[in-house]
Every structure is written in structure tokens, then in C-alpha cells.
């Protein structure tokens, strides 16, 4: 039960971290596209828009959580089967799950649902956000190693 709660907590934290980062990255990408057509966006306006855009968490959060559940289950299985660095498996899973999901959504809707991912750089920034989510999950769900000293108590 404790492990289950640990996994749920890790998933929530990972989802929040990735969604918030994704939202921030998307806003910066959109502002960069405006700047590229000579639109002036002062720092205060940029910050205000960045904060305002966090409301996409309502949409982005559930999608991120769903793709993380799938990705992290696969990462857990892969780590158990192949071994290696556990954190690295979850980092890779977080990044690839989010990017795969965005590409699937695009193939279904025939549009880019998150404007900040229209460019390769924007899409890579979401891979980074997904990787951070994977790292957060891995750290919060690291199996506790019981030492000989603790076991003898």
C-alpha cells in the first residue's frame, strides 16, 4: 500500500513538473514566434502571459498523466528485464511518452494542439519537460534500500 501511494505521489509530482514546464516552454516558443515577426513583448508582458498560460494545465495535465502511466509502466518493466540505471529509464520514458503522445494527437486532429510544439525546438523543449517528469518520478519512487544495520535492529 505504501509503495502504491509512493507511486501515485510520484506520478502526480511528475505530471505537475512536466505540465508546468511544458506550459512555460510553450509560452516562450509562442512569444519567440511573435518576436520573429517584429512584435515587441516586454518582460512584464512575457511574465504575465507565462502565468496566464498555466491554465492549460487543465488540458495538459490529464494527457501527461495518462502518457506517463503507460511510459512509466514500460520503463519499470524494461528496468526489471534489462537492468541498468533506473533513473535513466524513467527519464527516457518521460521524454518519449510525451513526444509520442503529442505526435499521435497531431496525427488524429491534423493540427498541432500545443502551439509551442510547432517547431523542432519547441518539440524538443517538451521532450525536456517529459524527461524532467521522468526524473522526478524516479527519484520519488526509488525503492528504499534496507541496510544490514537497520535490518538487525
Amino acid at each position: 500500500m505504501l509503495k502504491f501511494m509512493q507511486n501515485v505521489g510520484g506520478l502526480i509530482a511528475a505530471t505537475l513538473a512536466t505540465s508546468i514546464l511544458g506550459s512555460i516552454f510553450s509560452t516562450q516558443s509562442v512569444i519567440a514566434s511573435l518576436a520573429a515577426i517584429n512584435v515587441d513583448v516586454p518582460l512584464a508582458t512575457r511574465l504575465s502571459m507565462t502565468v496566464s498560460d498555466l491554465n492549460i494545465l487543465i488540458a495538459l495535465g490529464p494527457i501527461t498523466a495518462i502518457c506517463f502511466i503507460v511510459g512509466f509502466i514500460i520503463a519499470g518493466l524494461a528496468h526489471g528485464y534489462f537492468g541498468g540505471n533506473r533513473t535513466a529509464w524513467y527519464v527516457i520514458a518521460g521524454a518519449s511518452a510525451l513526444i509520442t503522445t503529442l505526435l499521435i494527437i497531431k496525427s488524429i486532429l491534423l493540427i498541432t494542439a500545443i502551439a509551442g510544439t510547432r517547431t523542432p525546438l519547441g518539440l524538443m523543449s517538451f521532450a525536456l519537460a517529459g524527461a524532467v517528469g521522468g526524473w522526478v518520478y524516479a527519484k520519488l519512487t526509488t525503492p528504499k534500500v534496507t541496510t544490514l544495520k537497520e535490518a538487525s535492529l
Binding site: 509560452t27 509562442v30 493540427i111
Partner: protein, 368 residues
């Protein structure tokens, strides 16, 4: 399809496809409606021939012929091949103002493939052979550049000015919205060409280095309503989530998309922090939340704007370059409305959307 709806609802993106309610002819307070013909599959536009026949475009690439309330078995033949996907396909149809003498009509459609597609304008001669019609002498007048990927936001509405030049709305391609501000791109523009596709010498950017000479106005998103009445060019356009607009278009003006808008992205994010910006025009009318304006008609000095999402028709009273009043009319008509036009008999005709589209005639029974 359930998966699509799930993903779309999660993202807050409203798909443009839907099942339409079917309208039934009837009499209402001040007007009556008559279903002229039905069963059109993704109809987009209709046009009236001088002999009473009505041509209806279907996005799949067909031009249906409505004669005496029935859809003929034979479609207009020799229609150019279109790229039918997403919002693309065969779009608008319009007769030349001198059609009685030259039998010329104009078509707009999505051209190309998934890898590269664009809005295209062609002219063709409509020849009648017994009861059938055929397009001949097809000439490509304009193809938007650059080619884009993704089958969305073609716009494609055609209008003709008093001097015979042609206007065409070219959408921003959805994922290419910043192109609406770039004068080296046709996306997000209204373009103006001569009947033969050449560029009029008085186009506003013809002498601007690097600019596409066909551009007549810019800063547009997905503008599916465009008409010329009393020398004034009226246009409407879909905003994103909010920010639908009606504008009066003048050459060289910047209408702001995506730098200014009252709308936000479908996922709730801002598209821009601005609703006004130096050098950019404010709309005459803004609809937030969106009604999804599709087409537009001019009748007795009033504009009629048809709407898809709101499934409505708005009547706009005009005084000079101001809209003085607006409200919904003909509310008995059911369904998403794709096209609206004034018929030669003085009635208003609307074309509904979807896979079982209807052509409906509205006759006003009381004068106002």
C-alpha cells in the same frame, strides 16, 4: 471516432465535423423556409445560373446540379482534381459578372497533397451539352505560396470587384499563423488578381521588395466570408476560441492576426498578449465566444452572416462603415450553416453543413 472526440474534448478543441439536424420546411413569424434540395455531402458553396439551375460544390470534388428542386444524377464534369482532407477540397464557386456573355466561372479548392498543399483559384468555361454541364478551358489563376503541410485553414472564398478583378481569401494554414504577417507569404491574406491571373498594377504591395504582388490585405486567419457590395469589401473570419470578426477590407491594411485577437487558443493558452497594436485594424464586429462565421450575404443594405458552431444567421445593419445593429434571424433553421447567398429571385438561400447537407430557401413574408 470516439477516440478523436475524447482527445479533442480533453484539449478543448472542437472538431469541425458534426452531424447536422435536418431542417423541415415551414412558415414562421415573418418568413417561410423551403428545403429546395438535400443529400449533399460536405457542401461548401452554391451559385445560381441564369437559367435557374443551382450549382452546389461538395468538398470531395463534385459540383452538383439542382434543377426544379431535384439534384440531377450527372454532376458537372471535368472538375479539377482536389486535395480532399481535413477542411480542404473543392471550396467556392462564383460566376463571372459577365457570365451571360463569356460563360466563365471561378472555382477555389485545396490543391496538392499531404506533403505540400495550397489554396488554388481557377477559371473555367461552363459548357452545356444537352442536360449536362462540363468545364472547359480551365486556367489556373493563382496558387498560394508557400505550400504548406496539414489540411486546415484554406479559406477559399471568391469575390469580384466592379473592375472585374478577383479577390480570394487565403487562410493561414493553422500551424503557419505567423505567415499572416509576412508579406513574402500568401497565407493569411486576401489576394487580388485579374481575370487572367495577372497582377493588377494598382495592388498595394506590387512595388514592395520581397512582397507577394497579389496581396491585397493581410493579417487574416480563416476568412470564409467575402463579398463586394456597393463598392465596399466585407469579410468575416473565424477567430480561434473567440475573436470571430467582421471587417471592411481596404487595400494594404493589416488586420492583425495573430498579433491581435480577442480569442485564445483551443487549449486555453494565449495566442498573443495583445488585443490592439499600432498599425493593425480593429474589427467592426467581434464575436467572443465564437459563432464560427462561415459565409456572408448582402440583402437590402444588410449583411447576413451564417454560422457553423452557433448554427445561426446574424443580421447586421450597416450605416456607412459602421455596424449599427445586429441580431440573430431566421432562428427556425436547424443545423450548422455553411453558406448563405442572395438568389436571383430576391430570396436568401442557405446551405447547411455535414454529410446530408440541405439547400434551404428563405422567403420573407413581411416587409420591414
Amino acid at each position: 471516432m470516439k477516440k478523436v472526440a475524447l482527445v479533442a474534448s480533453v484539449l478543448g478543441f472542437v472538431l469541425s465535423t458534426s452531424v447536422n439536424a435536418q431542417h423541415i420546411s415551414g412558415s414562421y413569424d415573418g418568413y417561410s423556409t423551403t428545403v429546395i434540395a438535400s443529400g449533399f455531402n460536405t457542401a461548401w458553396a452554391h451559385e445560381f445560373l441564369p437559367n435557374g439551375d443551382i450549382l452546389v460544390t461538395e468538398r470531395g470534388g463534385s459540383i452538383k446540379i439542382v434543377r426544379d428542386g431535384a439534384v440531377l444524377n450527372a454532376d458537372v464534369s471535368n472538375v479539377p482534381q482536389v486535395y480532399f482532407a481535413g477542411q480542404g477540397g473543392l471550396l467556392d464557386i462564383m460566376l463571372d459578372t459577365d457570365f451571360s456573355n463569356n460563360q466563365i466561372l471561378y472555382l477555389s479548392y485545396a490543391f496538392g497533397s499531404a506533403k505540400g498543399n495550397a489554396t488554388r483559384l481557377v477559371s473555367a468555361k461552363l459548357n452545356k451539352n444537352k442536360d449536362a454541364y462540363q468545364l472547359d478551358d480551365i486556367n489556373t489563376l493563382f496558387t498560394a505560396s508557400p505550400l504548406k503541410q496539414g489540411p486546415q485553414h484554406y479559406s477559399g472564398r471568391i469575390a469580384q470587384m466592379a473592375d472585374g478583378t478577383l479577390l480570394l481569401s487565403v487562410g493561414d494554414g493553422f500551424d503557419y499563423r505567423e505567415h499572416a504577417q509576412k508579406l513574402d507569404s500568401h497565407l493569411g491574406k486576401i489576394i487580388r488578381v485579374n481575370r487572367d491571373g495577372s497582377v493588377p498594377a494598382n495592388n498595394p504591395f506590387i512595388n514592395s521588395k520581397g512582397a507577394k504582388p497579389e496581396i491585397w490585405s493581410y493579417g487574416h486567419r480563416n476568412h470564409q466570408g467575402l463579398l463586394v457590395a456597393n463598392g465596399v469589401v466585407y469579410q468575416n473570419e473565424h477567430g480561434p476560441k473567440g475573436g470571430d470578426e467582421v471587417n471592411i477590407i481596404e487595400p494594404g491594411l493589416n488586420f492583425g492576426w495573430p498579433v491581435i485577437t480577442q480569442g485564445i487558443d483551443y487549449n486555453g493558452a494565449q495566442i498573443t498578449p495583445y488585443t490592439e497594436y499600432p498599425g493593425m485594424q480593429q474589427p467592426l464586429v467581434d464575436w467572443t465566444p465564437s459563432i464560427a462565421p462561415s459565409s456572408m450575404a448582402f440583402y437590402k443594405n444588410k449583411l447576413y452572416v451564417s454560422a457553423l458552431a452557433e448554427q445561426s444567421i446574424h443580421e447586421l445593419s450597416i450605416s456607412g462603415k459602421q455596424i449599427t445593429d445586429q441580431g440573430k434571424v431566421f432562428t427556425a433553421i436547424k443545423g450548422r450553416i455553411r453558406d448563405i447567398a442572395t438568389g436571383p429571385d430576391g430570396s436568401i438561400y442557405v446551405l447547411t453543413d455535414g454529410e446530408q447537407a440541405q439547400l434551404i430557401k428563405i422567403t420573407q413574408t413581411s416587409s420591414d
